[in-house]
Structures are given as C-alpha cells and as structure tokens.
Amino acid sequence: MTPDLQLNPDGSLRHLLSLDGLPARILTQILDTAEGFLSVSEQEVKKVPLLRGKAIFNLFFEPSTRTRTTFEIAAKRLSADVVNLNISASSQSKGETLLDTVANLSAMHADMFIVRHSSAGAAHLIARHVAEHIRVMNAGDGRHAHPTQGLLDMFTIRHYKGGFHNLRIAIVGDILHSRVARSQINALTTLGCPELRVVAPKTLLPREVEAMGVHVYHRLEEGIKDVDVVMMLRLQNERMQGALLPSPQEYFKYWGLTPEKLKLAKPDAIVMHPGPMNRGVEIDSDVADGKQSVILPQVTYGIAVRMAVMSILAGN
C-alpha cells in the first residue's frame, strides 16, 4: 500500500502493515530471525530478555481471541510488558476515536501497538500519527491484510519445502473475503514462487485477482493437480453478505478438501489452513488431522514469526 510508511530512511523495517511492497531481503530477514526464535522453545526457560522494559499494547477493535493470544505469547516470550485492550468499534466518529485512543496510550509510554480492526487501513492510519519511536504491527485490517499470518505461512512452506523457487502452490477457497490470501499472494510473488494458483468459485473471487499475477481455477480438482502446497482458506461465514453460496453442505461437495481430492496433489504435498477451521465445510477432518496436514505446526511457527517481527521493529 504505502511501502515508505513501513520503512525507515535506511531501508530497515519500521512498521509492519502489509506484505505488499516489502522487499525480499526483509521477508527473508524475518524468516531467518524466526528460525532463531524457534530454537528458544528448546530452552528450559522459553523466554529471552530482548524487549525487557518495552510496553506492547494489543489494540483489538475486532474480537479475535486466537490472534490476540499469539501476539500476547510472542510479546511475553520477549519479556515485554503486554496490555490487552478490546475496544468496541461501534462509536460514531471512528477515525477520531481511534487516534484519541492511540494518543492516550502513547501518553502511557507505549512502545508498540498491535492493531486489529474491521476497517482496511486502520493500522496505516495509526502508523501515520504515532510518535517517532512507536512501532505498529497490523494484526488484520478488514479485507485488506494480515501480514504476520502471511509470514508464518511463508515460514511453514520454507520449513517443509526448503524454499520457493520450484514450487507449485494453490490457494483454495474464499479469496474474496480473505485478508490472508492477499498477504500470501504478495509474499509468495516476492519470494519467487514460479506457479501460484488461486482456486475458488467465481462468487468468492475478487475481480482484480488476475492482475496479481496468479493462475485462476474454478474447479478444485484442476486447481490442486500436482501442487506442492495446498493453502486452504476459511469460509468466512460472518463476512458474507447476501447469497454468494448455496449451503455449507453443497460447498463441501464441490470445494471441501477430502482425502480423495488431495490425492490429485503431489504425494508429498502439505496442507495448510490459517484457522479456525470449518470441518466438513472447506476441509474434511481426515485431511485436517492427516499426515499431510501442517496446520498445528503453523500455529507454533506463528509465535516465532511474531517474535521475530516484534524484535526487528523494536530494534530498528
């Protein structure tokens, strides 16, 4: 969106708002650093003193216990002080309220804001107005971006597949409502994935998707044929307006990933999902719990990736 807002004049990362526009060297630095943090979990004391004395505020204008918890754990493992704020986004003049809230928290000596908001651009707005020393991380803004989820997906793929340059990757499901998909497409393109497919019914595909340099498929069987990685998306029931879909049962019949359909992918293909899963809607339990599933490792890697971003931002 606005890469200059994310970077310091020396090119180092200042805020993490979107993966769009971030150069490969920064993505790779984050993934490498996360590798280091993963090894911290082997310690008896699973904690490092890096961010001692720093105050990190989780600003959640949209409820998400899972995401908030992963940021909270990451901050605590870095020895930061974490404050969780669940703020109702229902007040009338949102823009003003948002910046007033941030100004108040800044006066309490905040060092970093983790922002989750239902409106696209909320984290950008905050980043534009905070004091020089404060860092902002986007934890999901509307349909726009969810950069740390995209990064943990990249970490997972690199971990299991060793890199990106020979891979065929399919992103499957509700692309239209997914901020995760955008982050994934941006990052995979930057990191050099040669064949990126999006696989979705026409009603769940944004019009501009082909401009992002991906191959579009409208049948699951064709879309996942011979791929190395299947990235499932959650069917975003709560974001649906109007009748884009017939019924969950019918969606599963055509779009649910079952063991039979997964056989069309490469035998060593991995299956990913950002969670929470709708079992029996977009993914069959036998796949979710099966040998090719890396869904739970994704959660573990998510902590290390968030620790990496927090410590890089705090240090730059």
Binding site: Q43, V45, P49
Partner: protein, 164 residues
C-alpha cells in the same frame, strides 16, 4: 607481535583443556567463530563429547542501541545442561559482554555444574569481570584495532586484523 595461525592455537588450546575433561563435559561454541573453534577442538578432544552452539543475539546488552543483529542463527543445545560441566568456546575475547550474554542464555537451558571459558585469543580490553580458563594466545590490542576469525570456503581458518 606476530600472531600464530588459528590451527596452532587450537592445538595449544586442546592440550591445555585435555587434562580437565570429564565424562560429564560438553562443548558450547558461540556463533560464528566460536563454533568453528569448538568443532576443531572437538575433533582433537574426542568426538563423543556433546556439542552445542549459541547465537547470543537475543541476550546482547546493546539491543536498545543498535537493534537486533541482522543475521541470527538458531541456537542448538541438544543435551541436558542441568548438572553438566560446560566448556564455553569463543574465538576472540575482548570486552567480555558476549560471554556474559552466553552465560545468561545457558542458564535459561538449565543450571550447569560449572562453566569454563576457552578462547583462541585474549586481546584485552575487558569491561566486565570475566577471565578465561584456557587461552591460546594473549595480546593487548588498542580499541581502534579489530581482530576476528574468518573461514574460507575450503574450511581454512584465518585471523583478520585491521582498523576497527
């Protein structure tokens, strides 16, 4: 003063360390140079010694001034630290801050019975009360000089000296 080659110093260090080895010992190298020295020592002292490596990036005391080190490697301590006698290995001992960070990190793995420090070169300039137990070579370098260990593609170790 002419500095001996790294290999000469590693041989010298290994002979100093050998008499004090016991079955509950383990070697821990500090990234990156300390790991090379540790591996070379392990070859001379017996391959059965458990080995580990530390990247102290998350324990440094200058994070708030210079930020996170751009390259962080995973730390690998594949053995139980609790109750073990550790030999911490680094290439060049200078201010002592790296060793302080490494000791703090080791204690997050468990409570070792002892930690001894082996360094290839002690160049003086200590800022903390840290003293090595085994030293390959001692010299006094002024603060405006830089000394480090490098490894070429074929595995050859060399010292690099220059202006800091």
């Amino acid at each position: 003063m002419q500095l001996p080659t790294p290999i000469e110093l590693i041989d010298r260090l290994a002979e100093q360390i050998r008499p004090s080895l016991s079955p509950d010992c383990a070697l821990v190298g500090i990234h990156t140079g300390g790991v090379w020295v540790m591996e070379a020592l392990a070859q001379r002292l017996g391959a059965e010694l458990p080995r580990g490596s530390l990247d102290i990036a998350f324990y440094r005391d200058d994070f708030s001034r210079i930020g996170l080190h751009p390259v962080v490697k995973p730390s690998r301590i594949g053995f139980e630290v609790e109750g073990r006698r550790l030999l911490l290995v680094d290439d060049v001992l200078y201010t002592g801050r790296t060793v302080r960070a490494a000791m703090n990190q080791l204690f997050d793995y468990g409570r070792p019975a002892a930690i001894r420090l082996a360094v290839l070169v002690d160049r003086g300039g200590r800022e903390l009360p840290i003293c090595p137990d085994f030293v390959g070579f001692t010299l006094e370098l002024p603060d405006d000089r830089h000394l480090s260990l490098t490894r070429s593609a074929d595995g050859r170790l060399d010292f690099v000296q220059g202006a800091a």
